[in-house]
């Protein structure tokens, strides 16, 4: 067999090459910056872990069942916080979702503002919101509800607006053609198309909010996080073990049912 040379590779434009080289350089620079900049105190950390490992891990794995009552009550409060917060967000996100949907607000500008508000809300980590609300309404679970509610509006509003933008306008037009008024169109044209997906997203957000609300207590916003804070400060690792177990079980159960309900709805 005669060894033939390959045909030339298709030309890559010089700009593309420069762009690629630039991206590689930037990535390298970021990593250099990262590893030069970070200061990890290995000695101290290793000394600690060698001392703590044998103590903390076994305790974590043998939960302190005497705290079951307290932990359950706390976990229940966490569920309340998440539920109330998600519910509020699911309602409050409606106007924002419609506002941010281009086919509803009718103007690119208004939709743009709506989208901007929503992504601004999303940029605030839940816990930061919780801190603000704790300052505002005091150290209690309601601060947590507000934090969850505001935090969820950002995501739900965005998802809602995407659903609304995907509405089949043909059905709406057909109804307009039959002389239906705006309210009728809303009830018969829009809502049947969007309600299942709205609900499904709200339930999905509830899954996320259960996780979120279980740490709110770390900044004083109620729920099981309060117990986590105490257990950690007092180094009550047996109690922490039980808390951990409670979170794992509750989250797993809620994820399971949420997934089933969502599959049924959509």
């Amino acid at each position: 067999m005669n060894t033939q040379t390959l045909p030339p590779k298709p030309k890559v434009s010089i700009w593309k090459k420069i762009k690629r080289a630039l991206i590689v350089l930037i990535i390298i620079a970021i990593y250099v910056w990262t590893f030069v900049g970070i200061e990890i105190e290995w000695d101290r950390a290793l000394e600690r872990i060698s001392r703590n490992f044998g103590v903390v891990i076994p305790k974590l794995l043998s939960p302190d069942w005497s705290q079951l009552g307290k932990v359950s009550a706390s976990m229940l409060e966490t569920i309340f916080i998440a539920f109330a917060g998600t519910f509020m967000a699911a309602i409050l996100a409606l106007p924002l979702g419609f506002l941010a949907a281009q086919n509803m607000s009718g103007s690119k500008f208004i939709a743009g503002i709506g989208k901007w508000i929503l992504s601004a809300i999303r940029a605030f980590p839940n816990l930061i919101l919780a801190i603000l609300f704790v300052v505002a309404v005091g150290v209690n679970a309601f601060a947590g509800v507000l934090a969850i509610a505001i935090g969820s509006i950002g995501m739900l509003g965005k998802l809602y607006s995407e659903v609304v933008e995907s509405i089949d306008m043909k059905i709406v037009e057909a109804m307009e053609a039959t002389g239906a008024n705006k309210i009728q169109i809303l009830f018969y044209g829009y809502l049947p198309q969007i309600i299942p997906e709205f609900l499904s997203y709200a339930i999905y957000r509830f899954e996320i909010d259960i996780r979120a609300s279980s740490i709110l207590g770390l900044v004083g916003a109620g729920g099981i996080g309060t117990m986590i804070l105490f257990a950690a400060n007092n180094r009550e690792w047996n109690e922490m073990g039980l808390i951990l177990l409670a979170i794992i079980i509750v989250v797993t159960v809620i994820d399971f049912f949420s997934a089933r309900i969502r599959r049924k709805i959509v």
Binding site: M1, N2, T3, Q4, T5, L6, P7, K9, P10
Partner: protein, 261 residues
């Protein structure tokens, strides 16, 4: 040479894929297997490179029983048997050259292949193979940019790059239109004659089988019910294989012959 001796295959769910198969396929033959859907054609062909493993009997390839092969030995067996699939089985997002080079994987070290460091000869061989099936101009195209017939030609090139002694083709033209089907069969036949590669092809269409095969094996319910030269096939053998008379959809149909490469 491939020799089936009392070969049987029972799938884990109890289905009998092959029942007591005894057949010998000589070097350089172009054999076409025909039969109804579910007759066991794929099972037969896939036993030869051990994509499925017969549960009884002996299966000799080049006079060695391959049913005991495992690990490295099995991979070595597979490197000398090329396979062509109904759905071409290319990596759609990779370009044609990369797909064709995949035929050399069995001959290339793991590290070398992970970093894509193929030997110069391998790349030359891949290019040569592409030229043999007239698709060298697409060498840097992504596989999903090609038509079905072109993709099947790339997959033939992949097999050629493997430098096999045997080629197995499981319904290579089932997803193609008649002219393209004839084109692909013509390439397979040409390679069989030029390189003296034993070729076994599964086909649904009896007329195509008769046109290209040296020898036809008819299967029905896991058994061989006909084995003989294409010239011996007639209405009666057909009924033997299919259990009914010939129908329009058993025929692929004649197409004006496409360019002879």
């Amino acid at each position: 040479m491939i020799e089936f001796k009392n070969v049987g295959l029972v799938y884990p769910n109890g289905t009998e894929g092959l029942k007591n198969i005894n057949v010998k396929i000589n070097d350089g033959e172009f054999v076409v297997i025909v039969g109804l859907s579910g007759a066991g054609k794929s099972t037969f062909i896939r036993s030869i490179n051990r994509l499925v493993t017969p549960t009884s009997g002996t299966l000799l390839v080049d006079n060695e029983d391959i049913l005991q092969y495992r690990g490295k030995k099995l991979r070595e067996l597979r490197t000398k048997i090329g396979m062509i699939f109904q759905n071409y089985n290319l990596v759609k997002r990779s370009n044609v050259l990369k797909n064709v080079l995949a035929g050399r994987l069995g001959h290339t070290g793991t590290l070398r292949s992970i970093f894509g460091m193929y030997k110069k000869e391998d790349i030359a061989l891949a290019y040569e193979s592409l030229k043999r099936v007239n698709i060298a101009d697409k060498i840097y195209n992504r596989a999903d940019e090609l038509s079905g017939g072109q993709q099947q030609r790339v997959s033939i090139a992949r097999v050629l790059t493997q430098k096999p002694s045997y080629i197995l083709a499981d319904e290579p033209v089932a997803s193609l239109d008649p002219p393209t089907s004839h084109q692909v069969m013509t390439y397979l036949k040409k390679i069989n004659k030029e390189d003296n590669i034993t070729t076994i092809v599964n086909l649904h269409f009896i007329d195509m089988a008769m046109e290209y095969a040296d020898r036809i094996i008819g299967m029905r319910a896991g058994e061989i019910v006909f084995d003989g030269p294409a010239s011996e096939v007639n209405e009666k053998t057909f009924e033997q294989i299919y259990g009914r008379t010939i129908r329009e959809d058993d025929l692929r149909g004649e197409a004006e012959k496409v360019e002879q490469p």
